[in-house]
């Protein structure tokens, strides 16, 4: 068996050494493999440096002009989530403010709001919100609901005590059923903690694929297949290993940098490098590298490789079940998702970064990723066999 011979390992060594040299000397590969991860790794998470949507602009129409309405406005303005930026004389003008993007929501306090409360009748507040963007609408809805409940509770407490109910009983009367919500990971429910782990993984995946596809397509474009095959001692498996090893080493290092240094800078989860993270990263970059070798067998030129892979990352992210849950994906899309390496890891990678649960939590993922990796290696071998064909007759090699 060739794999047991010294020549085989010599071939792997030659190809690896050559690929490492190309990574450093080829301007395109250097940019893709070294510069791009740094630029994307810093720039994209930086978008979410504020962690959550806050200070959403709100307009006010206060027809009541009472002490209570002022209190309500102060309460809302003091919250981190909302900012009362403009007061309008009427609803029509305020709605116009929403239409022209001056404000995202409107608080309308009708006339006789406080006098109705004094009379003991229910009073209504109105919040009109632009819900075309959920990330903006949610804090408005939650904060406004919290305001109404909070103020209602205070008024209720006062009235109940007026009926001679003691303060302890008032608490139970006010909220007979208290729902305490505890997030298991991401306790503050920061959006940045949700997005940044995915960005890390997608960046690593995309750049491995583009780098490897570019490298192999470049060999084909410059008709170096024969040279590479000779260097590998005629072994295509040596080519597969030799071509992928540099990317595995490089992108594993980049992955470690992301989950430790960048995770610390952007305050995402647990920054320490644990065995789970090492294992999962190693497996992932290995899977993606092999997948990249297979994919590159489909391209004749570097240009085609770049063009096709340009459209890879968005679908890969969307079908992974990361943002839109897997149970809500159509069956055909779910099945398609299993063709992308990121699908196997992306959701668990998030919990890995945020909480780093014990290894057994990730065992099913590790197993499925391992199976995918083996399949990817097999396909990579077939791809290389197809592309790296020797023109020299066997007897003369």
């Amino acid at each position: 068996m060739r794999i047991l011979t010294l020549n085989f390992y010599k071939g792997v060594y030659n190809i690896t050494k050559r690929e490492l040299y190309r990574l450093v000397t080829n301007k395109d590969l250097f940019m893709i493999c070294f510069l791009a991860p740094m630029v994307y790794g810093i720039l994209l998470p930086y978008i979410y440096v504020n962690k959550q949507v806050d200070h959403v602009s709100m307009g006010l129409v206060d027809e009541d002009k009472s002490e209570l309405s002022s209190t309500i406005v102060r309460y809302l303005d003091a919250s981190q989530e909302l900012d009362i930026v403009s007061e309008y004389p009427n609803n029509a003008q305020a709605l116009s403010g929403i239409k022209y993007d001056k404000i995202k929501a409107l608080l309308y306090i009708p006339k006789n709001f406080s006098s109705s409360l004094k009379k003991g009748t229910q009073s209504n507040l109105f919040v009109v919100v632009n819900s075309s963007n959920f990330l903006v609408a949610n804090p408005i809805l939650q904060t406004s609901t919290g305001l109404a409940l909070g103020m209602s509770a205070k008024i209720f407490a006062k009235k109940a005590m007026g009926f001679g109910v003691n303060s302890k009983k008032v608490e139970s009367l006010m909220n007979p059923i208290m729902l305490e919500t505890r997030p298991v990971t991401n306790p503050s429910l920061f959006y940045s903690n949700f997005m940044i782990p995915a960005l890390f993984l997608i960046i690593i995946q995309q750049l491995i694929l583009v780098g490897i596809a570019f490298s192999i397509a470049d060999e084909k474009e410059h008709k170096r297949e024969e040279k590479v095959l000779t260097l590998a001692g005629g072994s295509r498996l040596a080519i597969v290993l030799g071509k992928t090893l540099p990317y595995v080493i490089l992108d594993f290092s980049i992955g470690v940098f992301f989950v430790t240094v960048l995770a610390r800078i952007f305050e995402v989860g647990v920054y320490t490098l644990t065995f789970n993270k090492i294992l999962v990263l190693l497996l992932f970059v290995s899977a993606v590298s092999a997948f990249g070798v297979f994919i590159s067998s489909l391209f004749k030129s570097t240009l085609m490789a770049m063009i096709v892979l340009m459209f890879y990352s968005m679908p890969a992210f969307l079908v992974s079940g990361y943002a839109w849950p897997k149970f809500a994906l159509p069956v055909d899309i779910k099945l398609l998702g299993y063709c992308f390496p990121s699908t196997y890891l992306i959701s668990d990678f998030r919990t890995l970064l945020l909480s780093d649960f014990p290894l057994r939590t990730y065992l099913p993922t590790i197993f499925s990723l391992l199976v995918f990796t083996l399949i990817a290696w097999a396909l990579a071998y077939l791809g290389v066999r197809y592309n790296f064909v020797s023109k020299i007759p066997r007897e003369k090699r």
């Binding site: 003991g120 963007n133 990330l135 009235k159 009926f163 968005m314 149970f327």
Partner: protein
Amino acid sequence: MNSVVGIIKRELSFIMTQKSMFFLVFVFPIIYGLFLGQIYSEKIVKKMPIAVYDSDNTKISRLIINYINNARSFDIVSKGKKLEDVKLDLQRENIVAFLNIPKGFQNKIKKIEQANLTLLVSGSNYMLANLAKTEMQTIIQTVSVGTKLQAMGKTLGISKRKALSIANPISIEMVKLYNPWFNYLDFLGPGFWMAALHQIMLLLGCLLISREFERNTFGSLFDLAQRSIVNVFAGKLGIYSFIMFFIFILYFDVIFPRFDVRITGSMFVLCLFSLAFIICTLSFGLVLSCLFKRSINGLKGVLLVGAPAFLVSGYTWPLENMPVLIRIIAYCIPVTPYINGYRKLYDEEGTFLEVIPYGLHIIAIMLVALLISYLALKWRLKNSDSSLKMKESLS
């Protein structure tokens, strides 16, 4: 004019004869659009798997479980298991949440003492966590109000009607404009469609000129254009703008209705606005094409701009919450003003007046892009003329 028409014909012939080009321009945008829309075809997240542990097993606890069962958002996949038994499922996100109803729950309510429920959610999925939290709060609030009114009647000796006005003195009425049911397809689908088309157009723009130099056909093109850069641009941008405009119309007339996404604003304004965006994006790609000798280098620029374009556009994460540096980058990319104006038009019943600022922004980017392209190509031609003259004088 004749030269522009000649260039258009030449380009059209190229597209029709090159399979890959034909696929990229006509077929791929449609397939991509259908594929992206299919992902969110469920529109609203329904049947989130949750686990419930009811150790109380009383009328009120069963009422709560009944409400959860009937809610479209939840699917109770586990009822009798304690937290320790479902902890792994929660960590692995096989379930979105775990609700614990402790023993003595109903008793406490009867004694008019506060009864607590605990909801553990998998917080790493922001969207599901928030949805589970909000929906469960609504359910519990509904049950809570009922028990509250009864308790008040007992404690305060007042009628249910009076109790209602005291229990909830301030009621807040939410009016959600434009996407009241939080339909994810309406929210994200159109955004992803435009991001994809933006990337395709950047790519096409990037290949316009550099491809000609790589194939050594720029000379014949320039002769056809009567040696006018403006004619070259007019011809090249003209044909691709027309084709992409046709693709956009297909999106609005076929793909949008296919996925039940309505266009609430003026279709005419949307088409006009989109046309400006098309020309702008192609011009942006043209800059890369004129600046870089090799298409591959232009493509790197497309990757650099196109890949983060959707994220920095402000379509999901608002621009106001981004750092200043990112916002500056975002304002330089055509998709940023377009996608925000376009949402106004398709989702917010937008009018021409409302999208004027976005339109002017797009036109500004377009003019700057065209100017840079013109100067870059002129400089390149001047350099290649000088080197040609030097070669001739040396020989």
